[in-house]
């Protein structure tokens, strides 16, 4: 990587390759496209919201891998009960 590239933050090609492969391999291994992941996220929001109030905007869902096994990981922030109580008044 040249000084110029370093200065302007251009990534070297090996990092590029690795990041692209990480994403491609997740989809190859799980057969789950980004669009399907989005629709799964919407379904999850709808289902969970029936039971508890969640912060749908801040919800994160993604596929992580541990060795060769894949794991669906969702981070779903709950709205504080205090705020809910105020609003219900």
């Amino acid at each position: 990587m040249s000084l110029f590239e370093r200065f302007f933050g251009k990534k070297n090609s090996a990092d590029n390759a690795k990041e692209r492969l990480q994403l491609v391999l997740i989809h190859d291994r799980t057969d789950l496209t980004p669009a399907e992941l989005d629709s799964l996220k919407d379904d999850l929001i709808a289902t969970i919201s029936r039971h508890v109030e969640i912060d749908a905007q801040a919800m994160q869902i993604g596929v992580e891998h541990d060795g060769r096994s894949q794991r669906l990981v969702a981070d779903i922030p709950l709205k504080a009960a205090r705020r809910r109580a105020k609003r219900s008044k």
Binding site: M1, N12, S13, A14, D15, A17, K18, R20, L21, Q22, V24, L25, D28, R29, H65, G67, R68
Partner: protein, 265 residues
């Protein structure tokens, strides 16, 4: 002890399957093992030219399977190593001339007659690949540190797991230490991170591979070649020996050397 049956496969073509089979066969035979290698690439045979045995072919694997000759008649003995044999692929037939059960039958007959059977798989994940892995005790997946080859290797590793052929062990072929050093090629560690399988060897890019295949004498015969050394080391690992991985980076600075000394790298 019955032979260990090892298949070398890759998904993608042109990553070095045939070269690896030829060199591992030579490496094992140099160690005194009796080795039979089988060209599984029916219709596109090449293992014969890499081993320099193309002028000795009389019968091929399809002749054995269809009963036109005995197994021994199709086994071509190497010019230099009397314990190394090749069963060539048929050139005028296609992959459907052989079935996985044909392969199982053929290899059952070979098992008590040698120490290692090495099978060169064709590229792809279709019939020829299925034939090549049918009788394997162990599968080696070979790849290059390059996006398309790594992606295909991952597919193949997934299929091997699904077929109950284990996760396989990985050979990283044609690694260019200078490109890796400049962060313009995936390092062996990067590839292992991505594929999460056991590594059995890293073979550096080496012009001697082409020179030796021009001559029909695999690079494993060349005691000065780094690639030859890497293949001979893999052969030893296949025999169960513990051989340290080659240090491919001679140009490492003081910091790298210190890291290596303290076991951090």
């Amino acid at each position: 002890m019955p032979a260990q049956v090892i298949t070398i496969t890759s998904g993608k073509g042109g990553v070095g399957k045939t070269t690896a089979v030829a060199n591992l066969a030579v490496g094992l035979a140099l160690e005194g093992a009796k080795v039979v290698c089988i060209d599984g690439d029916i219709g596109l045979r090449n293992l014969d030219v890499i081993l320099g045995l193309e002028n000795r072919i009389v019968y091929d694997i399809v002749d054995v399977i269809e009963g036109r000759c005995r197994l021994k008649q199709a086994m071509i003995r190497d010019k230099k190593l009397p314990e190394l044999y090749l069963i060539p692929a048929a050139q005028t037939r296609d992959k459907n001339a052989v079935s996985p059960s044909d392969m199982n039958r053929l290899i059952k007959d070979l098992r008590n007659d040698c120490d290692f059977v090495l099978i060169d798989s064709p590229a792809g994940i279709e019939r020829g690949f299925k034939n090549a892995i049918a009788a394997a005790d162990r599968v080696l997946v070979i790849t290059n540190p390059e996006v398309s080859a790594v992606r295909d290797a991952d597919r193949v590793i997934g299929i091997l797991e699904a077929e109950g052929k284990g996760p396989g062990a990985l050979i990283i072929n044609r690694l260019n230490p200078t490109l890796v050093k400049n962060h313009n090629m995936l390092s062996a560690d990067d590839v292992l991170d991505l594929l999460a399988v056991e590594l059995i060897g890293v073979v550096p890019e080496d012009e001697n591979v082409i020179i030796s295949s021009n001559r029909g004498a695999p690079v494993a015969f060349d005691s000065k070649s780094k690639a030859g050394q890497a293949f001979r080391n893999i052969a030893k690992r296949l025999r169960g020996e513990k051989v340290p991985f080659l240090d491919l980076d001679h140009t490492g600075g003081l910091w790298q050397q210190l890291q290596r000394l303290t076991g951090r790298k």
